[in-house]
């Protein structure tokens, strides 16, 4: 099988709505200057420790796409979402929105982009202000981002948005604690929709909800995508949801992308050893737990990343090259991009 380096020739048509270019994020965990000091061989030295949350992620999100980022806890998927939204500053790398670099903008210059990009958080119990009525919660983004609306227009908009997410506008004067979890998540989706965004980062939006409510919220997100031509960056650990909701999927492991491609291709024909293990571990109705692929050991700490391929310690196909050289994300013949030496060398 031929694997080609990823060049501009292989890019889909048109500029991407969001492009993430070699993004790195490290969180310093060594504390203050004094806490960084160690005595080594009788001399004080300064040692810094950091969690390498993202290590060189390249991603492009096209208009109208629902790109799902999946991976286990600690793989950096939420950090990617927060970096795109500008909630954290990347250590290195660039984030572009419709061709314009946005990660280095000042708060004032960034303001118009905040209207175009909105975020839905995991836990609606924590993301809604308990002391604000639904009306006040929904009015706030409109006051900032659509000051041209007068009070009546704003109220009309609140009614329209509440209707569209299936929460009766009669309840606008109520507080979050008066709603169930599913309704609260609808309200936080309504808050994101108030400013008519083009792009939404949804960070585990249904993980905190019950099974019968998950379907309701997922339907709402899909309906919003159709009606408003939204683009999603959907972060989740639930692979069954990804298969249903996503158009493309990015599989992350220890801050690195290991596989990226169309949902359909990846779910039917996973290539990367990690993706295979991950997919085989989903508990499906009527399947045996014995059928899953066992991985050796555990996820290593992101403080001291493994050399070479970050997955090599747990991979049964790893050889010496995997231990020393990090694989690039190469395009395979069905358009899926995989970071694996074994696939590149036709060993897998």
């Amino acid at each position: 099988m031929m694997s080609m380096p990823d060049t501009a020739v292989n890019q889909p048509m048109g500029p991407a709505l969001i492009s993430i270019k070699s993004l790195y994020k490290e969180f310093n965990i060594s504390g203050s200057f004094l806490e960084e000091l160690r005595i080594e061989k009788g001399r004080p030295v300064r040692r810094r420790e950091s969690v390498k949350a993202i290590n060189g992620v390249n991603l492009e999100i096209q208009q109208g796409e629902a790109l799902c980022v999946v991976g286990e806890s600690g793989c950096g998927k939420t950090t990617v979402g927060r970096a795109v939204m500008g909630l954290i500053d990347p250590t290195r790398g660039e984030i572009h929105y419709a061709g314009q670099r946005i990660d280095n903008l000042s708060a004032v210059d960034r303001f118009p982009y905040r209207k175009k990009m909105q975020m839905i958080f995991q836990n609606p119990y924590a993301s809604l202000n308990p002391r604000k009525t639904v009306q006040a919660t929904l009015a706030e983004p409109a006051k900032f981002h659509a000051p041209e609306l007068n009070e009546t227009q704003r109220q009309e908009k609140i009614v329209a948005v509440m209707d569209s997410v299936g929460v009766s506008p009669k309840w606008a004067k109520r507080y979050p604690h008066e709603f169930s979890g599913g309704q609260r998540q609808r309200i936080s989706i309504a808050r994101a929709l108030m400013v008519d965004p083009e792009f939404i980062v949804a960070d585990e939006p249904i993980s905190a909800l019950d099974v019968s409510i998950q379907a309701q919220v997922l339907n709402l997100l899909m309906q919003a995508r159709e009606e408003r031509q939204l683009t999603y960056l959907f972060i989740t650990h639930d692979l069954a949801v990804v298969e249903h909701f996503g158009t493309r999927v990015a599989v992350m492991y220890l801050g690195t992308l290991c596989e990226l491609g169309n949902c359909n291709e990846i779910f039917h024909y996973p290539r990367h050893p990690y993706t295979r293990a991950l997919l085989s571990a989903i508990p499906k109705l009527g399947s045996d737990p014995v059928g899953h692929i066992k991985l050796k050991g555990e996820v290593p700490t992101p403080i001291n990343l493994p050399s070479g391929c970050v997955f090599h310690g747990r991979c049964q196909f790893a050889n010496d090259r995997c231990k020393s050289e990090a694989p690039g994300l190469n395009r395979t013949d069905n358009g899926v991009r995989v970071a694996c030496h074994a696939i590149e060398e036709n060993r897998l």
Partner: protein
Amino acid sequence: MSLLQVNNLEVEFPLLSGKVKALKDISFSLDKGERIGIVGESGAGKSVTAFAILNLISKPGRITNGSIWFDGANLADMDRDQIRNIRGNKISMIFQDPMMTLNPVLTISTQMVECLQAHRNLPEAEAKKIAVEKLRAVQIPAPETRLDQYPHELSGGMRQRVVIAIALISDPALIIADEPTTALDVTIQAEILQLLLELCVNFNVGLILITHDLGVVSQVTQRTLVMYAGSIIEQGPTRELISSPLHPYTQGLIGALPEQTTPGSRLNQIPGVMPSLQDIPEGCAFHPRCTLAVAKCQHQIPELKGKTSRLCACHLVDDVDA
């Protein structure tokens, strides 16, 4: 003879605004070495059922009716000392979050030995030997060194393995696992489920697995109970129940899973939310959300009945049988 027999169990919590019946007329049995699953959404009463079996309902909540027969004795009638002899000895419990279950300031060894010595008069060295053996049974590498470590030194999956080892330590006849894998990642979840299944089969231990995940239940259990608003609404062999659910709620739950529809299409959703236990609708508790409800459903509470292996509490299903 069955290992555990729960008859007409009712649990009540008094509130300022009146009494809340968390469990209503729960009856089921479990044979020796059988694995059953209890499925339902949050607030359905799954965990209260598990807690009631071990008499762990915290005051002012209490068991108001019913009996729990285990090993020839009624657990619901036992006093504190008698039930302590059962807990962690003949029936053990595994909770959701292993970091909350394990004591962070004690070593694994201390916690395992303590549990053994509470029930058996064993010298320390002997108890440690058993602890190592159990850690090996849950496939923890280098169990001797792990014994002297603290919970924070282990990963989430390892911690849950330790919790399972503690549950196994006095060779119980029944393990109650309350959402044992909900806090874990999928790859770890698959390993823990496989381990639980193997242990139950190898040691002939009964299992009550409480979860909201139908996929998990279908992998591990032989029989499944579905709960809604404090009652069992359907019961049957797991495979059968999942392939041909009888109750409209079970049908809705299974139909709402993304894997049941083609990718990208609208999911089948159950309208509305589960009622609060404080104002459960009259008649069948599910009728306001049920698309098939008829007039009878609004007034009369359906009974859980049917053939011996399949039980269902729905007026419409009765009609089908007749």
